[in-house]
């Protein structure tokens, strides 16, 4: 087991290294710089002074090595646009906002999706099943920004019952969470239905009934426990994916968050911030995939054995 864990972490480290280098070079070579958002470009001398101050005048490779040296000690430098904070400080300041939005959206889409999926599976091949499956395909094909507009138009402008943006009490979150979670419902419902249907039609469920178990006992102890495995492995990564912030939703609704910060940092060429967020996202995602695999082992004994041996 240890060998498997070590190999996995080595993989993550190397990926992060490669990713940070590619992002580092990429962000430096995009035209325009942190000094660029002005009406008139800075004079040559002023430019040199500015670059010297932020160490941008050294060759890219050297800058990368210094950055890496600090990054290894978890010091990701200071964002240009918020000099009073550190990159990690700003990330962890904005993360709760994105995390809250993403978490609520995930919970929303999972609960609705799983319920729909179960209903569809319970009434397999009935009109209800077909209705839910078609609905989830349609929902899946509506792009997020289209939905964002429609939702804002209907609730904020026409009915004027919910604020269209900004950050305040809970009612500011209703629309963004709906717009963010809604598209995912389709996928969740179809995958839940698929897992449930496969499990219900399996032989060991028939054996469970043959043993004299009541329908509810069969459902909870046998069906759910087996259907859970594929569901968990695909639903768990949804959380970090959504909780690290969404660019569209945070921009359309004007919410603070990592997604919007990443877009702003990119347009302001705030290099330390761009790198910090990218590495943070990659680390969070790969750790979650790792945890999902481990969890996969906990839930499904068959995998646990093979993990010990490999």
């Amino acid at each position: 087991m240890l060998n498997y864990v070590l190999r996995r972490f080595l993989g993550i480290l190397i990926m992060l290294l490669l990713l940070s280098f590619v992002t580092f070079v990429l962000s430096r070579t995009v035209p325009g710089g942190p000094f660029g958002k002005v009406e008139v470009p800075m004079g040559k001398k002023q430019l040199e002074l500015f670059k010297a101050k932020y160490g941008l005048d050294k060759p890219i490779l050297e800058q990368y090595v210094t950055w890496l040296g600090q990054a290894v000690r978890l010091d990701f430098g200071v964002p240009f646009t918020a000099p009073e904070m550190t990159v990690t400080g700003l990330i962890f300041k904005l993360l709760p906002y994105s995390a809250l939005l993403g978490f609520l959206a995930c919970v929303f889409s999972l609960t609705v999706g799983i319920i729909l999926g179960m209903i569809a599976a319970a009434h397999q091949n009935s009109w209800l099943d077909n209705a839910i499956v078609t609905y989830s395909i349609v929902v899946g094909s509506i792009p997020a920004f289209v939905l964002g507009f429609v939702v804002v138009y209907v609730f904020a402008a026409k009915l004027a019952i919910l604020p269209a943006g900004g950050w305040g009490g809970p009612k500011y979150l209703v629309l963004p969470v709906f717009a963010y979670g809604f598209p995912a419902i389709g996928g969740v419902a179809r995958w839940t239905r698929q897992c449930m249907v496969d499990t219900i039609s399996s032989d060991y469920v028939r054996t469970a009934y043959a043993k004299g178990l009541v329908r509810s006992q069969v459902m909870s102890k046998h069906v759910l426990r087996n259907a859970l495995i594929p569901m968990v492995t695909s639903f768990l990564p949804m959380f970090p994916g959504m909780m690290t912030g969404s660019m569209f939703i945070e921009m359309v609704f004007g919410l603070p968050g990592l997604g919007k910060q990443f877009v702003l940092s990119s347009t302001n060429r705030d290099y330390p911030m761009v790198l910090g967020i990218t590495v943070f996202w990659a680390l969070l995602l790969s750790v979650t995939y790792f945890i999902t695999d481990i969890l996969y082992g906990v839930i499904d004994p068959r995998v646990r054995i093979t993990q010990k041996s490999s």
Binding site: V30, P31, G32, G33, P34, F35, G36, K37, V38, E39, V40, P41, M42, G43, K44, K45, Q46, L47, E48, L49, F50, K51, A52, K53, A82, P83, E84, M85, L90, K93, L94, Y97, A156, A157, A160, P163, A164, G165, G166, W167, G168, Y172, G254, L255, P256, T267, N268, R269
Partner: protein, 491 residues
Amino acid sequence: MSTRLVGLDFNGDPYPAGCESYRILEDGLTWEFKLRKELTFTDGSPVTAQDWEWTMKRAMGSGYDYAWYYSDIKNASKVSGGQLPAEELGIKAVDDFTLQISTELPTPYLPSVMCWFLVMSKKAYETAGEMYELDPKTFNGSGPWTLVKLDRATGCEWEVNKKYKGVRTVYFEKCHEGPLAGGLAAYMAGETIFYSVGAGTPPGEQAFINTSPILRAETHPVAPYLTDYFGFNTLPGKFAPLDNPDVRLAMCKAIDKATIVAQVGKGFALPAWGMLPKGFPGNNDDVLKELEPNKFDPEAAKQLLSKAGYADGKGFPEFEFWCRGSVSAYAEAVQAAWKDNLGIKVTLKGADYSGFTEQAFGQKAAPIYWVAYQLDYFDPATFLNIWRDGGRHPCEMPEWTAQYNAANSIMDPVKRFEAVKKAEIALVDSTVFFGMDSPFSYTMFPCNLAGPGAMPNRNGFSMGTGGGSVIEAYQHLHWSNSICRDALKGK
């Protein structure tokens, strides 16, 4: 948050804010500012001339991205260009409360330029370092507000500085800056105090506002103070034939400015015949309107183009038409006009702000560029200075620069405006750029909001209620007890 050396009142005229008075000395180049003795920083220490001098010199000497704005000050470009040490800059503290600023050429509009000159506390800088203004504990501003909280996620909070003895009257106790819900609904519900109605507002909503008497009463026009224009890269040989004036003239005459602005601007934009928007001091629309580049004549344009060797656009290279930010509808209209009237094809390219500034203006790499300029103070110089050689635009016009500098340094205002108008005519005739439109909008604020900021100024515009990026917006306002808003809620 901090005090300006000179303020701009609601009519756009400069008035002494940080200083008590100012006057021009005999040599016509040096201005002397008598500072307010009672003005203090939050920590109680007086604001001295040394603070002002140090603020400017430190800035100009250390990677300051707005160094170009103060190029009128003596040796400013040499100091910011690194040829001279900061000491040589034309700004000197004669004594604790007298500041002298000398200029390269006679600059009648210098006081207006100084409305952006905000003082920093030398003591706080030396003790708490460069970011003293970002931390409530070390904040040491000279304005009526002190920083209470700075939160990068939800915005920052300010409180009235009890010890402030400056000129600006403030009626609010606290002010919270942060993301707010937008939309007419939020305005009517009272969640937001200001709502701007412009080209983007759908006609349906405009109709809705016009039909409701209360909302109509709360709508006030905002002065047009921004000009959208596109320019050619006329550097010799760089993007031939754009360096040929006849070709540029043909391309200008092929554009029906009035119709495009009327259609695309949808009644919220006026055609810009030159650089200065309508109603702005020194505007000369009636004359500029009749100039050749502004006269839409597709036939003459075709002849000019064929005279230059590109009959019906044959052989004309396909240039890139850069837009700052996303591609603008006006650029698409121009692209269509050139294709229909001259057979010239251009491809539109949207470049984000920072990339555009560096490539189009820094490296002069854009053949044709679409951009806008917004006023910094109420004097023609704010719009025309940027066309001087060595500025941001990819063109060299030594004769025009000389003519303009001569005109711009006439101390007598009447003669100066006459000469500057001639310079603008010459600029438009040179077809280096093509003014397109000056968008204007309406701002809405509740009728129970009063105070000097809410009263219309001599041109009929209320400057203190949003959109007044120059003037201390949102101040000089206070609530008055008026029942008009209750009727709205009742509706």
